[in-house]
């Protein structure tokens, strides 16, 4: 059962720095304490990024994350801090988001990583559309992480730890897509009666073959589309005799296949006569 938990803010940072600086008041307060905190934080030049947003507010949080990243500046030596510099202690610009391309740090270097069973279509069908939408992105991020891991393992010429995780995620994604397609199909059938989402029709191509032509979206009508008018959805007169011949060929091959099947079944029945329930093979 897959669910990606987002990385939480580590506790040691909570008391030292104001992380997401969003107002000037906070900045002024931080300026006062900057000299005190500088000594503490001097050794911590790099900052662990955070993506601790709850699942329902990710739109709002994403925008605030973007703004706060822009406001950061590179200050790498602490003796710039003086009363003259009344700015808050800024740390290096965090490398936000890239750690989602990698596994949890405790799994780094392991030969095998435990993973649960993939989601089944039955389990996905009881979930609401919003949950499926979120799950899609969870799966996507997990798949990206595993693909990165696979590529890195190939680069290092080492075996990838637990490659079955990739298969599980891909199957989960396919099943989710199936469930969403089912819901779309049922709604469309109910409201419009259309069986297919994309319009199309049976047409004959230039070789005389009948095929399902899938429509494409165009900005101009067909009678103004010179390239479309050049396409021939009919067979020329010299090709017409061959349609009958190819139909005959197809029917002949179908009959031959059926007779071959029947002949094989007869041969097998002769080789392995069916025993009655009373006959035992002792």
């Amino acid at each position: 059962m897959f669910c990606c938990s987002y990385i939480l803010l580590s506790d040691r940072w909570r008391c030292t720095l104001p992380f997401i600086v969003s107002s000037d008041i906070v900045k002024m307060a931080a300026a006062v304490t900057s000299r005190l905190t500088a000594a503490v934080c001097r050794q911590f030049q790099r900052v662990v990024t955070v993506s601790s947003h709850t699942q329902s507010q990710y739109a709002a949080q994403a925008s605030s994350k973007f703004h706060s990243c822009q406001r950061r500046r590179m200050y790498d030596s602490w003796w710039f801090r003086s009363a003259l510099n009344d700015r808050a202690l800024h740390t290096s610009c965090v490398r936000k988001g890239l750690e989602d391309f990698f596994d949890l740090p405790e799994n780094w270097g392991e030969q095998t990583v435990k993973s649960g069973a993939p989601w089944t279509a039955k389990q996905l069908r009881v979930k609401s559309n919003e949950d499926l939408h979120k799950l899609w992105y969870v799966f996507l991020k997990e798949k990206n992480m595993l693909l990165t891991l696979e590529q890195e393992a190939k680069r290092q010429r080492l075996p990838m730890p637990s490659p079955e995780r990739l298969k599980k995620v891909e199957r989960s994604i396919m099943r989710l897509d199936t469930v969403v397609k089912e819901r779309e199909d049922s709604l469309r059938l109910l409201q419009t009666g259309q069986e297919r989402g994309r319009p199309g029709e049976w047409r004959r191509n230039v070789f005389g073959k009948t095929f399902w032509y899938r429509f494409r979206e165009h900005p101009i009508p067909w009678y103004l589309n010179s390239r479309y008018k050049r396409r021939r959805f009919f067979e020329p007169s010299h090709v017409a005799p061959y349609t009958r011949l190819s139909l005959e060929k197809y029917l002949r091959s179908k009959i031959r296949k059926e007779t071959r099947e029947n002949r094989n079944q007869k041969r097998l029945a002769a080789m392995f006569p069916k025993k009655t329930a009373l006959a035992s093979d002792h």
């Binding site: 897959f2 969403v180 709604l187």
Partner: protein
């Protein structure tokens, strides 16, 4: 867009699947291994093997069952089924019907001498009645609850389905969820309420996305 990406993946998977001729002789080795490639190089034709056609529901020997051998070198011995090949009606038992061979030879080193099991035909094995531990004939019958079970013809005892360990070593009853696993309660919790809205419309509502643009007139042909 989603349809295009799904078609691409289908196409790629089709290309990745290995194609075998219709008269390929499938053996105990998986077809993609080097041993199988050595036994069945492309272009090699072997005499066709005829296998008694048994429907999947009529198959009565399962992996993990204890069966007795009726003919062959180890006649009369009982063993556990390790592998089943339905397409060729083969059954491989653990440690029985073995022949010996060297494995992993290189240069002068002759390799390790190991015992490897040969497959047995389905008609040469029978299931064992748990009551008296004797070989018996099997039939598929329905219980009063409607469950389809294997029943021994001689004594009428139900033979339970064997519990076999998964190849990855996981025991479902002792599984502990990892940090990325969803708990069973969360997975089975029902959050779906059927409505006449598409997924896109519902998600836009929840995320307060206002879409005021209207699609341009387009032509489908």
């Amino acid at each position: 867009m989603r349809q295009i990406s799904m078609r691409l993946t289908a196409l790629l998977s089709m290309a990745a699947k290995a194609a075998f001729p219709h008269d390929y002789r499938y053996g105990t080795n998986r077809p993609w291994t080097i041993a199988a490639q050595r036994l069945n190089p492309p272009g090699k034709k072997r005499r066709k093997v005829f296998v008694e056609p048994i429907a999947n529901e009529d198959w009565h020997v399962l992996r993990g069952d204890t069966v007795e051998i009726l003919s062959g070198k180890d006649k009369g011995k009982q063993g556990k089924v390790a592998q089943v090949f339905r397409r060729r009606s083969w059954v491989i038992l653990e440690g029985l019907n073995t022949h010996y061979r060297y494995i992993g030879r290189s240069g002068d080193y002759r390799g390790t001498y190991i015992a490897s099991e040969a497959p047995l035909m389905l008609k040469d094995v029978t299931l064992i009645d748990p009551t008296d531990r004797k070989p018996t004939d099997i039939e598929w019958r329905y219980t009063e609850e409607g469950e389809r079970v294997r029943v021994s013809v001689r004594t009428g005892r139900i033979i339970p389905k064997p519990v076999y360990q998964r190849r990855d070593g996981i025991i479902p009853q002792q599984w502990k969820d990892g940090p990325k696993d969803t708990s069973p309660e969360d997975t089975l919790q029902k959050t779906f309420t059927p409505s006449l809205k598409t997924l896109e419309e519902e998600v836009m509502e929840k995320m307060n996305i206002q879409e005021d643009r209207r699609p341009r007139k387009s032509y489908w042909y």
